[in-house]
């Protein structure tokens, strides 16, 4: 009995190690991911937290208030501009915090909050009280508030009274930020898992080979998978929206034509990527790894669950050209900010471009047998 068990285990080890692709995706891929994410996050020091300073005084909205310079001890003009100030506090790792303050109007602050550029803003009347405005359900915002309040206390220069005034208006809650991101992610998953994985399975079953042994055009075969999944994905999005509408009171502020364009272009981008991913893969383990290598970085970086504006400044331009970021930002803009067709044309062209490039490359590389 023990001998049988041992033989079975040894055989399975042999099968595993004789498949180089499987070995890489099992051992190599987690190390590569740990390395990339480790460099991106673990060594970057304390993240920079963006805070808006919103003044009730109309004449002071373009400059940061004096009390902030006083509180932060950064009166040296070299360290700040009129409307922007970076402040780093704490020597010990657990006490360190970095903030970037920007003077804004309330409208600008609301927009920045919707776009995830800030997690909270401070409302001040210059003279007496200040209010922290944020959604208490947003963990990132709560943490920023606690760190900021603690940092101000450490300066012992505070004579202003502070209060928290929760933001619960529809459109600027955390859930308003989250739902468009989830919609974008569902499009990505529908394509990469629903199409890419499916095509890999068809190759393993030799059905791909059988299909292309007929007069059927190869591109038509691939596009049929895309169209089928697009209808399902549209239904998925609609259901998610209906749920969000009734349960979270979320409604689409922008134009429906813009929404349709963004959905279609985003879908095309991920359809193209799914064709490219599935073009050469011979087994499901490698397919799983390939899909993860594409989805996981976007899942983390593209601002689905939390804002990417807290990442280092050098990383943000790269994050903003990721297809999931473009799709998420566009959907968020349409649903929460009410943007229209004109504002989504540029990201849509980018998404179409990515889709067309990946599809053409995938079709050229495609292994049909």
């Amino acid at each position: 009995m023990n001998n049988i068990l041992l033989r079975l285990v040894i055989s399975q080890f042999k099968i595993f190690f004789r498949e180089p692709g499987v070995v890489f995706w099992s051992f190599g891929f987690p190390i590569v991911m740990a390395w990339i994410l480790g460099i991106a996050f673990a060594n970057k020091g304390e993240i920079l937290r963006n805070v808006a300073i919103v003044s009730k005084s109309p004449q002071a909205i373009s400059a940061l208030p004096q009390w902030l310079h006083k509180k932060t001890g950064t009166v040296n003009p070299e360290l700040s501009t009129e409307a922007e100030l970076e402040w780093e506090i704490g020597q010990n790792p657990g006490e360190q915090a970095r903030f970037r303050f920007r003077a804004m109007t309330e409208e600008e602050a609301v927009l920045a909050l919707k776009r995830g550029k800030i997690a909270l803003w401070i409302e001040t009347d210059l003279e007496s009280n200040l209010s922290y405005r944020f959604d208490p359900n947003n963990a990132e915002a709560r943490l920023t508030y606690l760190l900021l309040e603690g940092a101000f206390r450490q300066q012992k220069t505070s004579e202003l009274k502070a209060e928290v005034r929760p933001l619960t208006m529809v459109g600027i809650r955390y859930v308003d930020f989250l739902i468009p991101g989830l919609m974008a992610m569902s499009i990505m998953n529908a394509c990469l898992w629903g199409i890419g994985w499916n095509l890999i399975e068809l190759r393993i079953k030799k059905l791909l080979r059988r299909m292309v042994a007929t007069p059927l055009k190869k591109s038509i075969f691939l596009i049929s998978h895309g169209l089928n999944r697009m209808v399902l994905s549209a239904a998925e999005m609609l259901l998610l929206y209906i749920f969000a509408y009734f349960y979270f009171d979320i409604s689409i502020q922008g134009s429906l034509s813009a929404l349709a364009l963004v959905f279609f272009s985003g879908y095309c981008a991920f359809f193209g990527i799914s064709v490219l991913i599935s073009s050469r893969v011979q087994n499901t383990q490698s397919g799983n790894g390939m899909i993860n290598v594409v989805t996981m970085p976007m899942f983390i970086l593209s601002g689905v669950f939390f804002s990417y504006h807290n990442f280092p400044d050098w990383l943000i331009p790269y994050v903003e050209v990721l297809p999931l970021t473009m799709l998420t930002n566009s959907l968020r803009g349409i649903i929460t900010e009410g943007i229209g067709l004109a504002q989504v044309i540029q990201p849509s062209i980018g998404l179409f471009g990515i889709g067309a490039f990946c599809f053409m490359l995938g079709l050229k590389l495609y292994r049909w047998h």
Partner: protein, 306 residues
């Protein structure tokens, strides 16, 4: 000329799968590529199907090449692969209609094919619920849907039980009557004998023999065979002097003996008399015609089913 293969070679890493093969298949001919596993049959057929590209040499089908006339050739060739797992949750009819749409065929043709492959009663059955034989019949049905001028079948009955194999042979035999050129790979000599007039024997990527069954058997050896097992003494020397014996061998370790004879009916009574008069114990006796497997064994040192 339907298929012409000229000086074709194909290698994978260190393996020469097909080595300088030349082959011509005439219109309406039924040709079997016979050989054991690893002989290069599937690679050669895949190159004829346009799935693999030869490293060197040329393949012409109906006077056209895959490089320039792929769309035309796909219309003219029907094929059934060694193993295809069709979509499990489509019915037999849905699967056939899907493939029929690729050839722009009407529903009537699907119904005809359902009848030919004897799956009318399974029309609404999911593919996942079909037996192995029924699935192969479905694969054959898809292959013949467009009434192809060339039908290529890669080991169509491998893994099937004898009944299922015979059912498929019957369908193919009927289909052959339509004048379609048939190219079949198999390692079952009975299949090659039953379905094809011409047999090409392949081993290690090379053609060993090419001809009709009788041509091959006549060319590479004469006579019928009497196989026996006698363990108590060596009958070989006396047996070799019997009337009509061409050759006689006996293995002292296993007791297995083989007489190659001009005529079984002429030699067998004398051989049995010899056993009786010598008081030998006959453990087993089999008389048979020489087969392709004997021929293949003589040429390659291997059996077809290895």
């Amino acid at each position: 000329m339907t298929i012409e293969v000229r000086n074709v070679c194909k290698s994978f890493k260190d393996v020469d799968a097909v080595r300088n093969v030349n082959l011509r298949v005439e219109s309406g001919e039924a040709l079997a590529l016979l050989g054991p596993n690893g002989a290069g049959k599937t690679t050669l057929v895949e190159m004829i199907e346009g799935v693999q590209i030869p490293d060197s040499g040329e393949i012409q089908i109906l006077g056209k090449s895959w490089k320039n006339d792929e769309h035309f050739l796909r219309q003219e060739i029907g094929l059934a692969l060694q193993e295809t797992r069709f979509q499990e949750r489509l019915t037999v009819e849905e699967t056939l209609r899907l493939f029929a749409s690729f050839y722009q065929l009407k529903k009537e043709r699907t119904n005809e094919v359902l009848k030919i492959i004897q799956l009318e009663s399974k029309r609404r059955t999911w593919v996942v619920e079909l037996s192995g034989g029924q699935r192969q019949r479905l694969a054959l049905g898809i292959a013949i849907l467009p009434r192809p001028r060339i039908l290529i079948l890669d080991e169509p009955t491998t893994g099937l039980d004898p009944n299922a194999r015979r059912d498929l042979w019957k369908i193919l035999e009927d289909f052959k009557a339509t004048g379609t050129t048939l190219l079949l790979t198999t390692h079952y000599m009975e299949e090659a004998e039953f379905l094809c007039e011409r047999i090409v024997m392949l081993d290690q990527g090379k053609i060993l023999a090419d001809g009709t069954l009788n041509q091959l058997l006549d060319k590479f050896g004469e006579g019928d065979l009497i196989e026996y097992v006698i363990t108590d003494a060596n009958p070989s020397a006396e047996a070799s002097s019997l009337c009509g014996v061409i050759s006689s061998n006996w293995n002292s370790e296993t007791g297995q003996g083989l007489l190659t004879v001009n005529s079984i009916s002429e030699t067998l009574p004398a051989f049995l008399d010899l056993i009786k008069s010598s008081a030998l114990t006959l453990s087993s006796l089999e008389c048979r015609r020489r087969t392709l497997d004997d021929l293949f064994l003589a040429m390659s040192g291997r059996h077809l089913d290895e």
